[in-house]
């Protein structure tokens, strides 16, 4: 029993964070926002050069063979940097699922090389992100997860998140690569991790603003009301993190209760990020209500991911079925069982 991030994990996470802070800047987000496709081959190439697509691909297929715990740490960094390229879906959701299926070595190799992009479609998540541009599609039919090649263009929906590319679902097709709900759980977990990264970024933006913006002759961050708003937000964010890690371990181990923990993680992360968004805009005042500070990119992504891969009602429903019904043993001694 040890509940700790290893030095290696911390080093990897910091490395990704620093790299993204350098290359995936707010300036880049603003530039993407004015581009037609909202996607950039250069950005993708940068992520590939970092080795991100192969993080969870087995070493035999050219990846690093890392775990879901690594995945949630990296997903948080993608959230923190506001990354919109479909790296999380492909590398952190599809790759570990495909690694458990038979006969996907070629695709895994292509993923690790940054040459394949896998879009994800599941009934619990009605819109498909980055379907256009994907080389493959994981979809669900009758409880089975199907893998198919994908090409062509689809009709773009209009998300409030200017960098998000959503499409209506297509008819499921392809060969079976596992159970459908594994997709849902993996994707919800990664969404939760991104949410907590988004929340961290908004916290940092709000804190910086509070330190630098003066009113009444002093930084607004010296006012107790501002301090306490931000402190309240920190508590929610910090207590979502271990829940996500615990869910990652449960899912990696295939624990029977993994779905409950994923739902808990998604709820905690979405609540923290949503509340952080409201706190961040309030801290920024009128400036926060503009498109001129970058906060809105993160806040809108948080709104989007809060509803994606199972909304509050969906995940509370799973908690309900486990906890209120008595199906899950609860109480002291049941933290990890």
């Amino acid at each position: 029993m040890d509940f700790i991030i290893t030095e290696d994990q911390a080093t990897l996470t910091t490395g990704v964070r620093d790299y993204l802070a350098d290359v995936h800047t707010p300036e880049l987000l603003r530039a993407l926002d004015t581009s037609d496709s909202r996607r950039s081959a250069d950005v993708w190439q940068g992520l590939v050069e970092m080795g991100l697509p192969g993080l969870l691909v087995p070493e035999e297929q050219g990846g690093l063979g890392l775990s879901l715990l690594d995945a949630v740490l990296i997903a948080a960094e993608l959230g923190r940097a506001g990354v919109a390229e479909p790296i999380a879906d492909t590398a952190l959701v599809a790759a570990p699922l495909l690694a458990k299926a038979d006969g996907q070595d070629a695709l895994l190799t292509a993923i690790a090389a940054g040459e394949a992009k896998v879009a994800l479609q599941h009934p619990a998540n009605p819109w498909v992100a980055d379907l256009d541009g994907a080389s493959h599609l994981l979809s669900v039919n009758d409880g089975a997860l199907l893998l198919a090649d994908h090409s062509g263009t689809a009709k773009l929906l209009d998300s409030v998140d200017p960098l998000r590319r959503l499409y209506a679902p297509v008819a499921p097709s392809g060969t079976g690569v596992g159970p459908a709900d594994a997709l849902l759980d993996h994707a919800a977990l990664i969404a939760a991790a991104q949410l907590v990264g988004l929340a961290d970024a908004m916290l940092e933006q709000a804190t910086d603003y509070a330190k630098n913006r003066s009113q009444f002759g002093q930084p607004i961050g010296s006012f107790q009301a501002v301090k306490h708003h931000l402190a309240t937000a920190v508590v929610k964010i910090e207590f979502a993190k271990p829940v996500i890690q615990r869910a990652a371990v449960a899912l990696a181990e295939g624990a029977a209760s993994a779905s409950v923990h994923v739902s808990h993680a998604k709820l905690a992360a979405a609540d923290a990020a949503w509340a952080m968004g409201e706190t961040a805009i309030q801290t920024h005042g009128a400036m926060g209500y503009t498109y001129e500070v970058d906060l809105h990119f993160w806040m809108k992504r948080a709104w989007a991911l809060a509803g994606a891969w199972g909304d509050r009602a969906f995940h509370l429903g799973r908690i309900d079925a486990a906890v209120i019904s008595g199906a899950l043993p609860i109480g002291p001694g049941h933290s990890f069982a």
Binding site: G285, A286, Y291, E292, A304, F314
Partner: protein, 383 residues
């Protein structure tokens, strides 16, 4: 206390309803924060004025109907009941208008009020400056007297309507040596005057709902000053009182939103979080409570009373109920909440409304400022 409408009030309601039903555009207008939508909304103001509905509480002499606040509330109820467009004229009729009526000269009233009620001149507010937001007394924009003109230099920001409007109002430092609340004057200016530059500012939703204004030696006649030189702060505080007080947010608006929220809940009832049911009921209860309170304040004012620091209670209550109601709607919509257009291509008004609701606790004096006011002025806690 008598909570029954008189026959005259009922007749008035019927009259408003009939006119609205006959005149409210069948198709929703484009948002007033885009140029095309702005002009649609101005056109709607003029249609309203053609029926003498510009501002029913104003004297007939200025294009109103001389009605009382209860009748205004009835007007608002019917206005929102029919889903009539937002009031692009809001800064004029709810903020500047009452200010001119209280502090303006007869000449100023004649000059500004009628075109305002008719929707001929649309007004922007110009309160904030980059370093004077919550702390409005930190204003540095100057208006230096030069004969029978002021020469205005400086900058305003977050000026709502200023991307497209005709005229603006705000505080300027007429005594360049003054500090804080002193030496400020309340001045009206033509947004198309030489030396005024507008830089539209995109808001969260992407449209330029406010603008930054740059003043480069803009010459403004002295007769555009409301009240005495250096008395601007008190005039503005009165204006802010109107804004936070009774009129800025009509209860009908929230009652309409609550009713729509109940309908949305019914659509989604089979797949909602348990608390959503209670949140929806709370939205209805809060909108009702706000309506009762507004009727009570209106009654008090009609009986000769005033609204002071209590306006801060209103500001907090409506802004937080509005945000909570729209947050609930976003949760009910789940994965569709992020879509700017819902089935059939209609604008996702819940998303737009949630975004707008986030401005509520910020503008017209942030809720932090309001809580300070309540604590210090109503409860007497030390500053």
């Amino acid at each position: 206390m008598d909570l029954a409408y008189t026959p005259e009030q009922q007749d008035f309601r019927a009259e408003v309803r009939a006119w609205m039903e006959a005149n409210v555009p069948k198709e929703p207008l484009v948002t007033l924060e885009r140029e095309h939508g702005y002009h649609q909304h101005v056109e709607w103001e003029r249609r309203l004025a053609s029926g003498n509905w510009g501002m029913v509480t104003w004297p007939e002499a200025y294009g109103g109907r001389g009605l009382d606040l209860i009748q205004w509330l009835i007007f608002e109820e019917e206005y929102y009941r029919t889903g009539a467009p937002l009031r692009v004229n809001q800064n004029g009729i709810f903020l500047l208008g009452p200010t001119v009526m209280e502090f303006g000269t007869d000449e100023q009233k004649a000059r500004f009020l009628t075109p305002m009620a008719k929707g001929e001149v649309i007004w922007a507010q110009a309160w904030s400056e980059p370093n004077a937001g919550s702390d409005m007394a930190a204003i540095t924009s100057k208006a230096i007297r030069d004969g029978d003109h002021y020469v205005i230099s400086g900058q305003k920001t977050w000026s709502s309507r200023a991307s497209f409007a005709d005229w603006g109002f705000g505080l300027f430092r007429t005594d360049p040596d003054s500090k804080r609340h002193k030496g400020l004057s309340f001045i009206l200016f033509d947004l198309n005057a030489p030396g005024v530059t507008r830089r539209p500012i995109r808001q969260l939703h992407g449209d330029p709902g406010f603008a930054e204004l740059f003043f480069d030696e803009v010459r403004v006649p002295v007769e555009n000053r409301i009240a005495g030189e250096g008395e601007g702060w008190n005039v503005a505080m009165a204006t802010a009182g109107f804004e936070r007080g009774l009129m800025l947010r009509s209860p009908a608006r929230f009652q309409a939103a609550a009713a729509r929220l109940v309908a949305l809940f019914r659509e989604h009832e089979t797949k909602v979080a348990p608390a959503a049911r209670e949140q929806v009921m709370q939205a209805w209860m809060d909108a009702q409570a706000y309506a009762y309170n507004t009727y009570a304040v209106a009654s008090k004012i009609m009986a000769g009373g005033h609204i002071g620091a209590e306006a801060s209670l209103n500001k907090i209550f409506w802004s937080e109920l509005d945000r909570a109601a729209h947050r609930t709607a976003m949760q009910l919509l789940g994965a569709s909440a992020e879509l700017r257009h819902l089935d059939g291509g209609a604008l996702n008004m819940w998303l737009e409304g949630y975004i707008f609701s986030l401005s509520g606790p910020i503008y017209a004096g942030s809720n932090e400022i309001q809580r300070n006011i309540i604590a210090e002025r109503l409860l007497g806690l030390p500053r």
